[in-house]
Symmetry: C2
């Protein structure tokens, strides 16, 4: 039996079978709508990424002394244990005050074309200084934050080593270091990325059906590109929200209640959803998106398939040791 065919014939047979499978695969063409998450996000020309800067940025990301009462760090609301978000509807900051919006994840934020729900910061460097100064977040000033850092000889040395210059402990360099750390918070190797890379077993049939629905229903129109957002701003009305969104930045009537398209990378980990965190469950969020953005009442099966697909976008969490702060 084993010697019935000559080897070249067997190989030819295998190859033709493989081609046949590809041709029959109803999902093969759909895949072309998607892109893998790159291992490295865009890096600005004026903020080179060095291991020492990343390490310093990690320390600062975890340093609660950059707040008025010493209890709020970046990691408080963008908590590594909770998908780099806080899993509560709206952020709770200085003095237990509750902010107006849900904390977005820091994971893959480096790929976004703007930061904050309303896109008011063009990059991670600008974003980093926002919460420090926000009364309901860190509740301090940049001058105080810089003075705090200067009070630690270890920070003085690290800033000098990383940035050089006569007075290296500045708000600008603080922002650069935090941004450099955040550019390492990338989540590669999700089941869907492995599927795009050729591994047919990496996702389930239901997840493939969800991918199909994602394209055919129109989700992929805005949730496109490697981080599943085209960076655009669109009006959306979610339960309980009166937030004027992008309008607060542009003061243009057409931006009222518009928010930037959110990344869907790791969306299974970044609940609750929407600008006010009003929706706890992913299936409910998918239904609302269908209704609000696609003017479609998705079927139960479509919702289940889409949710399964969205779960395939959970990548590997960044691994790093805790910093030991001075």
């Amino acid at each position: 039996m084993k010697k019935r065919f000559a080897l070249p014939l067997i190989i030819a047979g295998i190859l033709s079978a493989a081609s046949a499978v590809a041709a029959d695969d109803p999902y093969a063409k759909l895949k072309q709508n998607f892109q893998q998450l790159p291992a490295i996000p865009p890096i600005p020309a004026n903020n080179t990424q060095t291991p020492e800067k990343v390490e310093l940025g990690k320390m600062l990301y975890f340093d609660a002394r950059l707040s008025q009462d010493g209890t709020i760090a970046c990691a408080t609301c963008h908590n590594p244990a909770l998908g780099f978000t806080d899993r509560i509807p709206r952020a709770i900051g200085h003095g237990a005050q509750r902010g107006p919006r849900n904390s977005p994840t820091t994971l893959n934020a480096a790929f976004l074309s703007s930061q904050f729900w309303d896109g008011r910061a063009p990059d991670l460097e600008t974003q980093a200084l926002g919460p420090i100064q926000a009364g309901i977040e860190h509740g301090t000033t940049l001058d105080k934050a810089v003075a705090t850092l200067k009070s630690f000889p270890e920070y003085q040395k690290r800033f000098a080593d990383v940035f050089g210059g006569k007075d290296p402990v500045t708000a600008e360099n603080l922002a650069k270091a935090i941004a450099a750390f955040e550019r390492t918070l990338i989540t590669p190797n999700s089941p869907f990325d492995r599927y795009l890379a050729g591994d047919e077993q990496a996702v389930t049939t239901q997840q493939k059906r969800g991918m199909k629905a994602f394209v055919e229903k129109g989700c992929a129109g805005c949730h496109s590109g490697p981080s599943f957002t085209n960076g655009g701003f669109f009006k959306i009305q979610v339960p309980g929200s009166t937030d004027e969104g992008r309008y607060t930045v542009t003061k243009k009537e057409e931006d009222k209640h518009a928010f930037r398209v959110q990344t869907l990378r790791n969306v299974a980990l970044t609940y609750p959803y929407f600008n006010n965190g009003s929706v706890d469950k992913l299936d409910e969020a998918v239904k609302i998106m269908g209704r609000e953005m696609l003017k479609t009442e998705l079927t139960k099966q479509e919702v289940a398939d889409l949710v399964a697909f969205l779960h395939s976008l959970t990548g590997e969490m960044p691994k790093f040791n805790y910093p030991v702060l001075p």
Copy 2:
């Protein structure tokens, strides 16, 4: 030159030189007052330490959902980035309320004979449930905390795998898992431990002088054993404190304003000091201890030597990856 002495003579010479050094070493005998930190702390017979339990305990240690508003975890006040404490005078918990006492470190707490400043918990298991129920800390109830855990299928599965039984998600098992994780928070390999193990270069001459002062001035009387505390309770009056300490537990007059002798392991990282966190600097804390407990005004040199010695008690921080919580 090389062949001037026969080999046995050279060896004899080396041995006698080594003995001479040991005999001349004024610190050799002082070392006998100290013990290295064991790699493994005492483990209670009814809470066996398994990797799965430790992993579950780590998740629970970081899980802020075990609090009323979802923002306070064990790791909030016992923060791994800040020496497993919070580096503020008195803990800030639920609703930004400030507690009455300084957060003690979780590092090496497994070696202590009682927990909390007033020793009201006999072990880590009992300790773990205190802050969850304290109105000014996690601000919730054990029933609510258990209900929260039960709402996550992943926690249900992990508790079942670790503890078995019909209803494994209980407050008792929650406490056991957290305690098991905390028993891994040991800091071996401090310079002083390496010195005790024979490495003469591991500490400086000033640190050896500090060790000498530590014994001769009397600090070692109470700060004894591998974790530098004999577990006793002693009256102490630190700046600004009206705290009745151990009295609140025993209601015995002699326990008024008494607190358990604190561990000095990693004391350079666990500032600010004392029950109300009123002292920020280690040299000031040493001076106060001299005055309050030893009735001695330590000289500037003694204080400097003691502080140098205390820095030699900083061990290696535990290394672990962040949990990814459900």
